[in-house]
Subunit: 206 residues, 2 copies
């Protein structure tokens, strides 16, 4: 059995749960309250010395960090992971792009606007930067999805799950999603997949 | 033939060149001057609409972004890419960690301290944050390397190349490398590998 250490509202935690659900991989979730500092507790640091979530403990007891490394490991050999070198290259490209050029802007804007709004006022300069850069990444995603139903090979793969995590809640960071109609249509396509699990249910499952 | 669009002094560009060199993959490098705005020129945007480097054009004419996606694609099937699911998982974990928790602190600190020092004064607050977080990631790397000669499977792999890119120039960002003796010893081990190419030669090759 896999154990996923996760926190409410995190797109990085949610996407790992969504993948395991859609692949019928048995797992349990242990909720860690980041806002209460639980990732830095001695108990949690004994499990994950890096003090971050998500953190996945494999059936053999080994721990794995990095949400997208979890996705690649769990999807390997399944119908959600392409087999050609060409498509696997594109899966990796999208997943690295998500962590380097998309999530770093969408996630903190959403955090300080919707999750911790009391900290917003002192971060308006950073929020403006995140909005500018996140709008650019959403536009890039929209351009691609205006010509493709899904990110890689025109079918639903682990890359869509990786990108869906934060993209579908970008509106909570005051990104104007009406500007990205192809992204919105793709979100609806992902939500229509068998075994789809909304992020809200993830929180309620705690 | 592969074509790598790159800029001088970029660890992300350098690591791709280092891998191709060590795998004896024929390639040419086209230098793009980011500081002169060349990544935003109409000519470059026609090649890479995202306006970033590195950018790799494959022998079939397709373009690929994201340095670590390039490393994984180029290393696949070679002696630098492990074949077991377990070790591949760790390669991915380190490469995602590099982009999400290491490079975002080491690289900008180095940029504003050593490459564009005229912009340093107005960024001392951010530099302090980068120093704090980068010190934590260097400590994590040092802990791992104090028990392992290389990052994955105790032998030199694509993961070492991915991490080497920015780690070996962290001192240029005023990270005190004397605090990380296992990292320094690993840097020396990487530099001693056959086919090693220093970053400086990358710049001079332009």
């Amino acid at each position: 059995m896999y154990t996923l250490y996760a926190t409410i509202g995190s797109g990085n935690c949610y996407k790992v749960q969504l993948l395991m659900r859609q692949l019928n991989i048995p797992f349990r979730v242990v909720m860690i309250d980041v806002l209460k500092g639980e990732t830095q507790s001695p108990e949690y640091l004994a499990i994950n010395p890096n003090g971050k979530v998500p953190y996945l403990v494999l059936p053999n007891g080994e721990g794995l960090g990095e949400s997208n490394a979890m996705l690649l490991h769990l999807a390997e050999g399944s119908h959600l992971m392409p087999q050609t070198a060409q498509e696997r290259m594109r899966v990796n490209e999208w997943l690295f792009w998500e962590q380097s050029s998309h999530e770093p802007y969408i996630s903190p804007a959403r955090f300080w606007i919707s999750i911790m709004p009391e900290g917003r006022a002192e971060r308006e300069t950073e929020i403006a930067t995140w909005h500018e850069r996140g709008a650019k990444s959403l536009k890039m995603l929209d351009d691609h999805l205006s010509k493709n139903d899904f990110l890689v090979g025109n079918r639903y793969t682990v890359a869509d799950i990786g990108l869906f995590g934060y993209t579908h809640v970008a509106g909570e960071g005051e990104f104007d999603m009406a500007k990205y109609p192809a992204v919105c249509a793709w979100i609806a396509r992902v939500e229509a997949r068998d075994g789809f699990l909304p992020m809200m249910d993830f929180a309620e499952a705690a």
